[in-house]
């Protein structure tokens, strides 16, 4: 954010350190065992282990719970297995209400995948334009980008719902896809990445060689921005996958719902109709993490930079 210009490192340096895991200085210096008591080190490890247990046990519980049938869920120890019913649960999950869960999964992939792809492309172009060209109004555009971080989601979503309902977009995939195309945070990240990776000299050289601006963007800038673009895409994907207020507002019929919306609806089912679908909810919840976990692991070195870069600049 612009508000933290006094933060300790420059974008280039920060991007560099994120890529290599940690700055080179660290590896040489390391902690000095002589200056730190053994007890201190032990205390630190204990603290971190406790924090790790706290972080992981809910996930462990979820994995265990997804392998149990309804009876086991209520009667056995929550932290250990009792009978392997994971396949039954999955079968039930995918066939319940004509396989509506599969539909929600596909919807989540559609909104998060296509929406973020379009949004990333627009963000990269905008970020590049903001970072490497000096045009009148540039400051205004950037101020709008940063200022929009403060707009509450309700202030945008409610009028958007009214506008979409007037033009007949409510309850269609477009109501989810269109808002994903414009993402100020992605623009912000793209600008920071451009500043860190695209030198002015390179652009000048390309211009002297007679390349047009569009050609420079498509064949030089976009290629050099693969890493940055991947981070922007990943963060946008995660954001859309996790979205709740927007889909809750603009999607009515359950055939267009996202996974989150479906799971939310199922948790309310018991109070409403007395049908207990807890084991379905838990198995579904576990499954909805899987794509995120796969993507994040695959792109770990990218998104780590994204999280820290985006937050610190």
């Amino acid at each position: 954010m612009a508000t933290t210009t006094d933060s300790p490192s420059t974008p280039a340096k920060s991007a560099e350190s994120g890529r290599s895991g940690s700055p080179p200085v660290r590896r040489i210096a390391g902690p000095d065992p002589a200056s730190r008591g053994r007890g201190g080190q032990r205390f630190i490890l204990l603290g971190l282990i406790l924090a790790s247990v706290y972080s992981l046990f809910p996930v462990w519980w979820l994995i265990v719970a997804a392998t149990k049938d309804q009876v086991g869920l209520y009667q056995s120890n929550g932290l250990w297995f009792s009978g392997m019913h994971l396949w039954d649960n999955l079968h039930q999950l995918f066939t319940y209400e004509d396989g509506i869960f599969l539909r929600w999964t596909a919807n989540s992939f559609l909104y998060a995948g296509v929406g973020s792809l379009g949004g990333t492309f627009i963000a990269l172009a905008t970020g590049y334009g903001l970072a490497r060209f000096d045009f009148p109004g540039r400051g205004v555009v950037f101020a709008a980008v940063v200022g929009s971080f403060l707009i509450p989601i309700a202030l945008l979503t409610l009028p958007l719902y009214l506008m979409f309902s007037k033009i007949g977009l409510v309850d269609t995939p477009w109501a989810m896809l269109i808002p994903c195309l414009i993402n100020p945070f992605s623009v912000y990240l793209a600008k920071v990445y451009t500043e860190a990776t695209i030198p002015f000299e390179l652009l000048e050289a390309a211009r002297i060689d007679g390349a047009g601006e569009l050609r420079i963007f498509f064949s030089i800038v976009l290629r050099m921005m693969t890493t940055g673009g991947a981070t922007v895409f990943l963060l946008a994907f995660v954001n859309t996958w996790n979205a709740f207020f927007l889909p809750l507002t603009v999607l009515r019929g359950e055939e267009n719902w996202t996974l989150n919306l479906g799971l939310y609806n199922w948790t309310g089912k018991r109070a409403e109709s007395g049908i207990d679908v807890t084991s379905l909810v838990l198995t579904g919840a576990l499954l909805s993490i899987v794509p995120l976990a796969i993507m994040m692991t695959a792109m770990r070195r990218y998104w780590r930079t994204g999280v820290t870069l985006g937050a610190l600049k």
């Binding site: 994120g18 630190i44 790790s52």
Partner: protein, 294 residues
């Protein structure tokens, strides 16, 4: 820069600018416009609703609406407890990581980030079930230890949601603070050690002041998030509608006004009010926390 190049550069930002106008500026203007009207229904509602320009009446209503102001107060009080606690834990963990070798720190960092990778709705589902006396292990654990826990009781709902938010947010905040810590020049520590400073002293007098900007930022992001709290209470409401009512947080009130009461104009006014409060709160927080630096 050559004049034509400038305009070509501006052209790269045109799709975004157009989208921004249609998806940000227009909706906000529309909300402000809507907020100046009220739907008045005739006696029996037979004649349908008529739309009347009422100026700032909706705002006046909002400012005196005890449910709305109460929900803001509730969220602010909660933020005053949860955010400092979460940031303190994140800071301590980041300092702990900083004391380890790069390899060990990396392992712990990934483990501590696991909760952040889980969608908020799923995180809430998991914790609601952990809290549940029928399914979750926490209630039997409490029985065993001699506590009579009811995580959904009115007095416990905030601590329950607070724990969920803390669990979800620690990793993210820790990573930001930790990467700021990595920017502290290592020579400072050596110098301090030569002067006989203890590790705790170094942490307090060098490391923490150095990551101040990161703390301000994580604090600011948390405040923005907290004032817009919706997902977690909405899921709690599915389980315990008696405890978590429809006016639990400001956004829940706005949502209910718009979609259950059908009062869009009032909902629009409330969202504008919330935006103003959010802006003021962020500015205030930023002023208060960054003043001492200069």
């Amino acid at each position: 820069m050559i004049r034509s190049q400038r305009w070509k550069g501006a052209a790269f930002t045109v799709p975004f600018q157009l989208g921004f106008v249609f998806l940000y500026l227009l909706p906000i203007a529309y909300a402000v416009y809507e907020s100046l009207f009220q739907e008045k229904r005739s006696g029996l509602g037979l004649g349908g609703a008529t739309r009347e320009f009422t100026g700032f009446d909706n705002y006046q209503l909002g400012l005196t609406d005890s449910a709305f102001m109460g929900s803001i107060l509730r969220v602010v009080l909660f933020a005053c407890v949860q955010i400092p606690f979460m940031l303190l834990v994140s800071l301590v963990l980041a300092l702990f990581l900083d004391a380890l070798t790069a390899k060990a720190a990396n392992r712990f960092r990934i483990v501590l980030l696991v909760p952040y990778m889980i969608p908020g709705v799923v995180a809430a589902i998991v914790w609601i079930n952990l809290y549940s006396p029928a399914v979750g292990p926490l209630t039997p654990m409490g029985d065993f230890l001699g506590f009579d826990w009811n995580f959904f009781a009115p007095s416990m709902v905030w601590p329950s949601i607070g724990n969920l938010l803390t669990w979800h947010g620690i990793g993210y905040n820790m990573v930001i603070i930790y990467s700021a810590l990595q920017g502290v020049p290592r020579e400072l520590f050596e110098a301090a050690r030569l002067d006989g400073a203890s590790e705790i002293r170094i942490a307090l007098s060098i490391k923490i002041p150095f990551v101040r900007a990161a703390l301000v930022l994580t604090g600011l992001l948390s405040i923005i998030q907290m004032l817009q709290l919706f997902n977690e209470p909405a899921l709690f409401r599915n389980i315990t509608p008696e405890t978590v009512d429809g006016s639990f947080t400001p956004i829940m009130i706005i949502y209910n006004q718009a979609f259950n009461a059908g009062n869009y104009q009032y909902a629009a006014a409330l969202s504008v009010l919330l935006a103003l409060i959010l802006g003021v709160a962020s500015l205030l927080f930023y002023r208060l926390t960054s003043k001492e630096v200069d």
